[in-house]
Every structure is written in structure tokens, then in C-alpha cells.
């Protein structure tokens, strides 16, 4: 899937740019993007190290396990086959909490760790497991309670009430997450008949 998606983006992009006469913009765009990726990577190196460091502190002190216990019922519903207290569940809950709080960069390391743990118990090495699908879809359905950047930009452009969109945003987020979970549960039943 990723294979085709990536190839399609590049190929379609180049073919379309020939047709629309944007070809001369393609080379600088590709080079700039590659440079930007490394710049982002270097910025990330510090931020990621900071968050994974703090995460390890929270892990070693038993804080994350304590939080995971509180999220028990929700996690059992989403991931019924994962053992309570397993490392995978611990990382999943860290990722979900960071997403809900809108900590952005803090969510990524825990998410990648969660994928590593899920991969260890994945019966098919190259294929996403049931748990991976659920985790990824919930993660990508947007969980953030308040998107700080949107508030900041609204304030910057002289909105009379930058925060008036918090409630509607929360409602839309909630609706989409419910639909995401329902869709995933439905697909689980179709794909993993047991």
C-alpha cells in the first residue's frame, strides 16, 4: 500500500506538472523538501530525546502503569486481546494521552514504541495486526481536546473570540473518533473471523 502510495504521489506529481507547465517548480520543490526533512529531523532529535527521556522517567517511576490502570476499561474495549499491563498497552496509552493533551511531538516516540511492541507479537511480519489497525486508526482520527495552534492563529488575525471554536472542534473530534472505532470494529469482524 505504502509502496504504491509513495510512487503514485511522485509519478502523478511529475506528470501533472508537465501538463500544467509547473515542471520547473518540481526540482526545487523536491530538493527543498529533502533539505527541510533533514532540518525537521535535526529539530526533532532534540525534542524527541527530551520527550523519550521524560517518558522513561515516568515509566521507571511507575507513573505510566498507574495511568494505564485507570484507562483499563477503554483499552480493554479497543484491544481485547492485549494483556493488561503489557508494554504494548503502556505505550499505547502514553501515545493516546499525549494526543488528547495536544502534546504533538511527545506522542510520536510512544507511538513508535507501541508499534515496536505490537510488531513483536504480530503473527505476520509484513502485515498489520488487528491491534495495529485499531491503534493507527484511533490515533489518526484526531483526539486532541484543544488545538492550541488554531487558537493562536485566530488571535493573531484579530478574531473577536478565538476560543469560540473549542466546543465545536471538540464535538467534531468526538464524532469522528466514534465513527473510526465503529468502522474498525466492523472491519475486524469481517477480516479476522474467529
Amino acid at each position: 500500500m505504502l509502496n504504491y502510495l509513495w510512487a503514485a504521489m511522485i509519478l502523478i506529481g511529475i506528470v501533472v506538472s508537465v501538463l500544467t507547465g509547473n515542471l520547473e517548480a518540481v526540482t526545487p520543490a523536491a530538493l527543498d523538501s529533502a533539505t527541510e526533512a533533514v532540518t525537521v529531523g535535526i529539530t526533532m532529535l532534540g525534542i524527541m530525546a527530551m520527550w523519550t527521556g521524560l517518558m522513561r522517567v515516568a515509566e521507571n517511576s511507575g507513573m505510566i502503569v498507574a495511568i494505564t490502570k485507570r484507562m483499563g476499561p477503554l483499552l480493554r474495549f479497543l484491544f481485547p486481546d492485549l494483556a493488561p499491563g503489557s508494554r504494548a498497552l503502556t505505550y499505547i496509552s502514553t501515545n493516546l494521552i499525549a494526543n488528547v493533551l495536544g502534546l504533538g511531538w511527545a506522542a510520536t516516540p510512544a507511538g513508535l514504541k507501541a508499534m515496536e511492541e505490537l510488531q513483536k507479537i504480530n503473527p505476520e511480519e509484513k502485515t498489520a495486526s488487528k491491534e495495529m489497525c485499531m491503534f493507527m486508526i484511533v490515533n489518526m482520527s484526531s483526539l486532541q481536546i484543544v488545538t492550541i495552534s488554531v487558537l493562536a492563529y485566530r488571535a493573531q488575525y484579530d478574531s473577536a473570540s478565538p476560543s469560540e471554536i473549542i466546543g465545536p472542534g471538540l464535538l467534531a473530534t468526538l464524532i469522528s473518533t466514534i465513527f473510526a472505532v465503529a468502522y474498525t470494529k466492523f472491519m475486524e469482524r469481517r477480516v479476522f473471523k474467529s
Binding site: L2, L5, I10, G13, I14, S17, T20, V26, A29, A30, S33, A34, E36, A37, V40, G41, M48, A49, G53, L54, R56, E59, N60, S61, M63, G102, P109, G111, M115, E116, K126, T127, A128, M132, M136, I137, M140, S141, S142, V146, T147, I148, V150, Y153, R154, A155, S159, S161, S163, I165, G167, P168, G169, L170, L171, A172, F179, A180, M187, V191
Partner: protein, 177 residues
């Protein structure tokens, strides 16, 4: 509003304080833990760097080619039919692919229509309830070498379409057109 901004400023420092204080309280060796974890974070970042380069080049090429604008043009008759604000269409498509590019378009909307216009409000709600699907999807799966992703992409896109529709409906219901 001030309270919301204050709380958002407080969010990250507070998280750090709670983590460190809890660690001290539990007599855990916080500094050693931090160094250990930070090293891990460096390795993770280093590992996802190639993915990041591949992704951003693909997004950059797609963006420069004008494909998304053409796609928006094709979709325009459909969106007009369901009352979707046409001006927000390129942004909505971009949102799924690139966060920084979407932010640029979002600011364009605020500059041209104002954040308190119908489209300004819709864009605000939509931006806070959708996610950069392509980035998360690629980085997470490539990190563990998964190539067959089953129904993950369709699920994520479905969730975000629901988000977009919900944003539109909620914006109309709460603020009117």
C-alpha cells in the same frame, strides 16, 4: 480566552513537573532514566530520518505540481451540491498530506476572509478535528517494516471525512452560515 491560553501555556511545563516530581516521590533515579530514554529517542529519530526525507519529497513534488488544485477543481461541482465552501477545498485536501502546507493555506483563509467569517470558523473547527494522516501512516508503519496495512488507510480517511462533514454541520448549527 485568557484562561484557555494560560492553561495551554501551562500544559507542557505542568506535564514535566508532574513526571519529575512523581519520579522523585517514588525514589526513582530520574536523571539516569532521562538519559537512558533520551538516547532511545535519538536512535528512533535517526531511524525515521530516511522515511521523513522520502515523504517530504513526495509531498513537495505533489504540492508544486498543482495536482491538489486540479483535484479540488474536479470536486467543486460535488461540493457545491452539498454546500461545502469551495474556497476551503484545497486546504481540506492538503490537511491530510502536509501539516505545514495546510497551516499556510489556513492563514491565507484567515487573511482573506477573516477568522470570524463562516469559512474562517469552518476552517478552524476542521483544522482542530482532523489529522495529517499521511505522515503518521507512513512513519509508524515504515518504522516496523509493515507493508500490508489492511484497512488502516481507508479507516483513517473515513474518520477524517467524518471529521470534515461533522465540522461543517457543527459550524452551521452553532454559528449559522
Amino acid at each position: 480566552m485568557n484562561i484557555v491560553l494560560f492553561i495551554s501555556d501551562l500544559m507542557i511545563p505542568l506535564t514535566i513537573v508532574i513526571i519529575v516530581a512523581y519520579g522523585l516521590l517514588k525514589k526513582s533515579n530520574v536523571y539516569d532514566s532521562f538519559l537512558d530514554g533520551a538516547m532511545d529517542g535519538m536512535k528512533i529519530t535517526f531511524n525515521i530520518l530516511p522515511t521523513l526525507v522520502g515523504l517530504m519529497v513526495a509531498v513537495g513534488v505533489l504540492r508544486a505540481s498543482g495536482t491538489l488544485d486540479i483535484l479540488a477543481g474536479f470536486l467543486a461541482p460535488v461540493t457545491r451540491l452539498i454546500g461545502f465552501p469551495e474556497e476551503a477545498l484545497p486546504l481540506t485536501l492538503m490537511r491530510l498530506v502536509s501539516s505545514s502546507a495546510a497551516t499556510g493555506l489556513q492563514l491565507d483563509v484567515y487573511a482573506n476572509y477573516g477568522p470570524d467569517s463562516f469559512i474562517g470558523r469552518f476552517v478552524s473547527v476542521m483544522m482542530s478535528s482532523t489529522e495529517t494522516v499521511f505522515y503518521t501512516f507512513s512513519v509508524y508503519f515504515l518504522h516496523v517494516g509493515i507493508t500490508k496495512t489492511r484497512y488502516t488507510l481507508s479507516g483513517a480517511i473515513f474518520a477524517n471525512i467524518v471529521s470534515i462533514a461533522a465540522s461543517l454541520i457543527v459550524t452551521i448549527l452553532v454559528f449559522g452560515r
